[in-house]
Symmetry: C2
């Protein structure tokens, strides 16, 4: 790459031309975007169709990212590469064949569960985490084969550790922070972060206020200091940004994320009855023009320039290059799939 890339490992904004222009103003080379939560396969395809329209309408701003080479293409042509991800496996329904279908349509990340038990794994809000299911093990092997990254951001810790162990390729936790820094249910304990890093996996650190110490009042420097301490656990090559930026979204969207169609009641997730909506964003990350400013905070936190370049995007770029292609049959996978 001509310069270190700037990559955000997870966003779910209310996409618009304005946001795409802010991506360009902020110098964002690539971003992993959530395209589906609780949607069925057909509904997920409708969401892909919507992205296809955006790619057709704004070819000077964005392009559909399928491989790490598209990050370089985005840099060379002054655009942002958009990589698709699913926050829940409802998009594959009960059909393992949809793993390859969705990968062909561009999906590059899929969470095995979202807060609740899924067909594949337990979510972090379940009272008991029973680990990977029978189908979960089969689907992880299929995801390994085609090049669809296992994402465990909203899964339980046992399920996450079993995914790290069972997966033949490194996995990701695209958006979460260290639980030792802020004990949110969605943040991850050191044991998970250590196993993730040792296996070559990636952590994306989140600026979503519920994941931050002091919430919306968290400072950029406190956040960057947390990154530096977390890098000591994961290794500095295994950490990037995964901001979970939910820009311009109405509160109906956070309700859809939490409730989907799985209950007729209400679930407040990380919020509460008193504060059911999206939390106010931190002042230092309200849109994509703020992202490049994180580098200075990382410098003050003691990271070296190569480490800063890695956290700001180089580590994701390397991980994308290793993860999105089909498993080469001539190269043994890291661990044999069971």
């Amino acid at each position: 790459m001509s310069r270190a890339p700037l990559i955000d490992g997870l966003q779910y904004a209310n996409w618009s031309e304005g946001i795409f222009r802010q991506m360009r103003q902020g110098g964002l080379d690539a971003v992993h975007v959530t395209i589906t939560y609780h949607e069925t396969f057909r509904e997920t395809v409708l969401n892909i169709e919507r992205w296809n329209r955006w790619f057709e309408r704004f070819p000077e701003l964005i392009l559909h990212g399928r491989s790490a080479a598209d990050i370089r293409l985005a840099q060379e042509t002054g655009r942002t590469a958009i990589f698709f991800g699913a926050q829940n496996p409802s998009c594959i329904e009960d059909d393992i064949g949809l793993v390859q279908i969705l990968h062909t349509l561009g999906l590059r990340f899929m969470q095995l569960s979202y807060n609740n038990q899924s067909l594949l794994a337990s979510g972090c809000y379940e009272a008991e985490d029973t680990g990977l299911t029978r189908m979960g093990r089969q689907v992880v092997a299929e995801m390994n084969r085609v090049g669809l990254v296992v994402d465990m951001s909203h899964s339980g810790d046992r399920s996450t550790l079993e995914a790290i162990e069972h997966s033949g390729r490194p996995i990701a936790i695209t958006h979460a922070n260290a639980k030792s820094w802020h004990p949110a249910l969605r943040n991850k304990p050191d044991a998970v972060l250590r196993a993730l890093g040792q296996s070559g996996g990636m952590l994306g650190v989140s600026t979503y206020p519920h994941h931050l110490r002091d919430g919306s009042a968290c400072t950029l420097q406190d956040f960057c200091d947390m990154i530096a301490r977390t890098a000591d656990i994961t290794g500095p090559q295994n950490i990037g940004i995964g901001s979970d930026l939910c820009q311009d979204q109405p509160d109906s969207i956070v309700e859809w994320m939490r409730v989907g169609r799985w209950t007729k009641g209400m679930d407040y997730g990380e919020g509460s009855a008193e504060a059911p909506g999206f939390p106010a964003p931190v002042t230092w990350h309200s849109d994509n023009r703020d992202l490049a400013g994180f580098a200075e905070g990382l410098r003050k936190a003691g990271l070296s320039q190569p480490e800063i370049d890695g956290v700001m995007g180089g580590n994701w770029a390397r991980f994308y290059a290793e993860s999105f292609g089909p498993l080469d049959a001539r190269t043994p996978i890291r661990r044999a799939a069971e």
Copy 2:
């Protein structure tokens, strides 16, 4: 290409390892296979999943063809390239966005109608052919844009002529013969064949007995003589094989082709109550090992060696190369889409 390719422009067999091995024994470099008739989008995706399993199980025999370069790859690696097609537009339902989705999943041909009126065009069995519908014109332009070939094999003549006129890229009639030779409802009059050839489109000639003079008793030489006379109308560069081989299929399949879910009654299509099933195949084309033998019949019919090479596959290879990629925005299309 190292040698002229051997290509069949339409088959719908009851696919099996045995048939794939016969393709190799017959030296078939590429084939356009029907993957869907009256199926919905989701059902069509299930059919693609089944093909994905075959590609995974038999990588030494077949590969998924996406561009004309895959014909060369198939030749160089001793395999058959499989190109997907739909005989009816039910797979896009009422959603123009599914045109690009299905092209991304590998679809390269789609008929605008199958015997009956569709959302896009009239079928050849309707009493009145009203030509392209409003949606039909939009979908043809979208197919032009992404590189999905318009196929009018089962459409009415007016619809076919309007598709030729409206399409910004050449279209195909992948499996039909000259009506002047055998006056079947599915065969095409000279006016259609002439307009097709003049626009750079392709006719695939069919060995399905209902399309043949004398039916199952038709001789290879009579068939090849028809090709030679039809080439005088379309031009010898605009004709290839499109056998409509339905090998190893049970009669329940021909009923599905004809009846789908559009009637609770029975429709015999080209058959009859007395002969409702598949007709007996011609003796000179019962499987893919027979195909190469057509060349000798074409030679006796008076075709030159370059013309024979074209009909046996070269013409389809050129058409595939021109048709399957996205429309280059820098190159004006042949006719402006309305």
